[in-house]
Symmetry: C2
Subunit: 320 residues, 2 copies
């Protein structure tokens, strides 16, 4: 639990979470146990660049601080989940994939200077992992793997009750594990990454290629649901790639639970999770596969903001 | 550091490490910082079963306790590295691959009853990882991957200064990561595991198959050193498989360092580590590959006993 000073002992403790995404930015005031007291949301305006985005999130944070004060809360920590790579130790954004001008932006220092509150900044995959672990499908599980399958594939690992960040905060990149060395080219420039075989974009690309007309992953799932053999084959190949990569991770980390999130993760269970469960033992040691559960993420639309809140809370616990 | 009681404050602190291997059993009295004060060794006698083995290690421990007392040391912890799977939490051996009768042997409880000293028991891959991290090539590195390439392939992961054990103490099994789904059958019964492609046995098997006469991995390395093209090709394939698996692990947990141990790990650097370094970027995200070091293990013949000593020391630190 947080160590509290004399002054804050007299107040109820709260945190602020901020989720900086490509389409929307969200900020929330939450209790120490993650109950949302107030939520603010605004559209991301890429044309206003990092400067405009930063101004907008600062305004939301200011409003939440004011509201917290009125309600008798002291804000112990701010957590920011950012849609792009982040140097967690220094709290510096490397870049945004959606908005110009975030390159090497010292978000932690800027927040701390402005608001006088210790701030943790991390990428949204790490924050999302913490969110599902604290508030979602992973509650109470000390060893888990989170895989977010959307346009791309990201992920995170909780080992012995702690997020694995790695040397340079680059851990969790299951989407760029090579599955088929001669497979299709990936956004990262290499061939046959999991992301190039099993993401929403990859499934849509295969649908487009094989059906000969533009197709999104949703339609491939719909066609498979209707019994279309070609669509079922596309999904079987994507699920085989997922089993390969998740099995590799399971052999390395021996998790109790795998959580599938993101848009593709929300596909009907019998089209994704059930066949994945059946395929995992092909790529996983028997003892490791035994009792390994695969479930859907629970936070859905709220994953981003609950991840930012979880980041704030866990970094209080870690650092006092 | 260890929390010490009133009584032990008056003594110098020591630990005892015990390495139970398939060919030899070793026990050592060491200082809290891992300096070996006394080392005892005995041959493993499989014909005497677990009972005989247990008797032999108890005798070594008793002798070391006596010697420690004479030298004014209080033994704070015993660490046992065991050559087979272990339930670390309960300190129960699942089985030995070499000696009958170890099935479900409660080694921790038996030691604690006999000697009155808290005892940690783990498999030798985990102990070996801790040893290289505390005393070998991994000193001072918080995020590393240890890969032991011998007859089989084992390994371990240190993430943020802590051994990753996983839910059931089965983590670190990089040897059973699938690399080629249609590849040769592995000891685990599945196809194309790293161990079936890059272990000493696998390299020897390929030599035997391609040269048409019985061959061990050492000879394949010798022939490659002399410029033999077929031997060079066998090594190139094994190294490609290693790069595949190590790259996958690096993408997942972003280590600073990869340590290669075991018999094959001792091959000349220009035949193994240099080509491996060159091949890693094929399977690793650029940012993750950048600055990732690959080095040879340092403990060699002493890996087992230093691992057991490291296990004793790290579990004092963790549990007080």
């Amino acid at each position: 639990m947080a160590k509290v000073g004399v002054k804050s002992v007299m107040k109820k403790l709260a945190v602020i979470g901020v989720d900086v995404g490509g389409t929307k930015m969200t900020a929330a005031l939450a209790t120490e146990s993650g109950q949302i007291l107030r939520l603010l949301r605004t559209q991301t305006k890429p044309e206003e660049g990092a400067k405009g985005g930063f101004r907008a999130i600062c305004e939301m944070v200011r409003n939440l601080l004011r509201e917290g004060k009125q309600k008798g809360f002291g804000v112990a920590r701010i957590g920011v989940g950012f849609g792009g790579p982040v140097d967690f130790q220094r709290g510096v954004v490397y870049l945004s994939h959606h908005v110009q001008g975030w390159e090497n932006f010292p978000l932690k220092a800027e927040f701390e200077n402005r608001f006088g509150i210790t701030t943790s900044v991390d990428n949204d995959a790490n924050a999302g992992t913490l969110g599902e672990w604290m508030f979602g499908a992973g509650k109470g599980i000390n060893d888990l793997l989170y895989v977010n399958i959307g346009t791309g594939i990201g992920g995170g690992i909780i080992a012995d009750g702690k997020l694995v960040r790695g040397w340079r905060n680059l851990a969790g990149e299951i989407g760029h594990m090579t599955v088929k060395p001669e497979g299709p080219i990936c956004t990262c420039g290499r061939n046959g990454c999991l992301e190039a075989l099993a993401s929403g974009s990859a499934i849509g690309r295969e649908g487009t290629n094989r059906f000969g007309r533009p197709m999104k992953s949703e339609e491939v799932f719909q066609l498979a649901e209707q019994g279309n053999e070609m669509a079922k084959q596309i999904l079987a190949e994507a699920i085989d790639a997922l089993a390969f990569a998740i099995g590799a991770a399971a052999n390395l980390f021996n998790p109790k639970l795998v959580i599938l999130g993101g848009g593709v993760g929300e596909a009907p269970e019998h089209l994704l999770i059930e066949p994945l469960r059946a395929r995992l033992p092909r790529y996983t040691l028997p003892q490791t596969a035994e009792g390994l559960e695969v479930v859907r993420a629970q936070l859905g639309y709220d994953a981003g903001i609950m991840g930012a809140v979880a980041l704030a809370i866990t970094t209080i616990d870690a650092e006092g």
